[in-house]
Amino acid sequence: MNPLTRLLEAALFAASRPLPVAELQRLDSGVEEAAVRAALDELKLVYDEGRHGVLLTEVAEGWQILTRPELADAIAQAQIVDRPRKLSMAAMETLAIIAYRQPVGRAEVEEIRGVASDGVLRMLQDRGLIEVTGRGEGLGRPLLYGTTSLFLEILGLRVLDDLPRGEELKVALTPVKLDTSEETTEGSEGIESEAVAG
């Protein structure tokens, strides 16, 4: 391992959070981004080829050392580490809405979910998964929420764009527009048909 790779490994190990390349450059004054990337590549190679128990991965716009997933069961069973607690369905729904609609206010979240969501929003804020990113227009200038880098981190995502895009989902994520007048002329889609039983 070359000296820069050593230093990167030590820093990534010490930080225990994803470190962006810019921050890693600070480790060695004047080192270029390309050199840091080359060193990251070397470290990745050492872990993979050396069949280490850890791996190097890019998450939340930074680099992080993590344990290999195939070892998780053994480590959890030995009660050395607790698996992260699962979020409730309500929390996941709220996160999903905020991830795609951010910045988004409470009213819109509740409109989509169909249930009051202030408790869930507070919980997600306390857990550091969402944060207030500004205030909206209109009455009382409602708080607007967005996802945090911790959100990306727990999902192992690099950037928000790594979320599945509209066309990758079975149900398109573009806002649904129901144009009933147009469908009247077509008369084909079920929404116009008289399927209502008494």
């Binding site: 190990f13 930080a15 225990s16 791996l55 991965t57 998450v59 992080q64 050392i65 993590l66 344990t67 290999r68 997933p69 998780a72 480590i75 580490v81 698996r83 992260p84 699962k86 369905m89 309500a90 996941m92 729904e93 996160l95 999903a96 809405i97 991830a99 795609y100 989509i112 979910r113 169909g114 249930v115 009051a116 205030r135 009382g140 200038r141 708080l143 727990i154 999902l155 192992g156 995502l157 979320l163 599945p164 989902l169 149900v171 398109a172 994520l173 649904v176 129901l178 009933t180 007048s181 009247t184 889609e189 079920g190 929404i191 116009e192 048909s193 399927a195 209502v196 039983a197 008494g198």
Partner: protein
């Protein structure tokens, strides 16, 4: 999230909150009913679904949950709207189900994303970060930075977010009923009767006229004075009520 509707035979002593957990809100319940019966979201037999929805809400003891009741009301309203006759060639007619369909599709999208997120989080949850927190508990936490601009910015945010803005501005008070009342009373101290115009005071404004009229009406209501008008559009006499002695 429940794939099936919990059976009505579930123990009666089961807590309300536990039962509520069976569904993640009214849209979840509605979507479950629709999926269970393989119904197209865009073609919901509202009457049938509304009845089923109400039955489940009742069975699960969700009657007190406002969100569910609101949806139940909405479904019944749509059911009634669909039963109403409508002109055959009414181009403005909108399917009363449209809004509900839009919301259900939107919610279905959210659920699909949730499925992806759950899977992703489970996969990533198997990759543990370093557990050792380098800073010992007694070490100073990371330093905090902020500056005056940020502090004042936060003040602006607080002010902008307050429901009742609080800048105080002194403005001319348009009406002064109390002043007019005092003026009428003092005028009536010396005389038993006077004309309404006299009550307005000198150099009166529109505001003075309105204030005086309000004061006169209030005093008359309280029985302190009585009003008389001899002819239509004629002068109005304001007289001290005989039982009321001037202060």
């Amino acid at each position: 999230m429940a794939d099936t509707i919990p059976s009505p035979q579930s123990p009666p002593d089961q807590g309300f909150v536990v039962r509520l957990d069976a569904f993640n809100g009214p849209l979840d319940l509605l979507l479950t009913l629709i999926r269970d019966q393989a119904i197209a979201i865009t073609d919901i037999p509202i009457a049938k679904i509304a009845d089923q929805f109400l039955a489940v809400v009742h069975t699960l003891g969700l009657n007190e949950a406002a969100d569910y009741l609101e949806m139940a009301t909405r479904l019944v309203r749509i059911k009634i709207q669909l039963l109403l006759p409508r002109p055959l060639d009414d181009e403005d007619w909108e399917d009363p189900r449209a809004e509900l369909v839009r919301r259900l599709l939107e919610y279905e999208q959210v659920r699909e994303v949730v499925g992806w997120l759950v899977e992703r989080a489970a996969d990533h949850g198997d990759r543990f970060p370093r557990g050792w927190i380098l800073e010992p508990a007694e070490a100073a936490p990371r330093p905090i930075t902020f500056d005056l601009a940020q502090l004042l910015g936060a003040v602006e945010d607080v002010l902008a977010g307050m429901p009742h803005p609080v800048w105080h501005r002194v403005v001319a008070r348009p009406l002064d009923v109390e002043g007019a009342t005092r003026r009428i009373r003092s005028l009536l101290e010396g005389r038993e009767r006077l004309s309404l115009v006299e009550c307005f005071g000198e150099h009166f404004t529109v505001a003075d006229v309105i204030s005086t009229l309000l004061a006169v009406l209030e005093l008359a209501r309280q029985g302190e004075i009585h009003l008389a008008q001899e002819t239509p559009f004629g002068n109005v006499d304001v007289a001290r009520e005989s039982t009321h002695q001037a202060a």
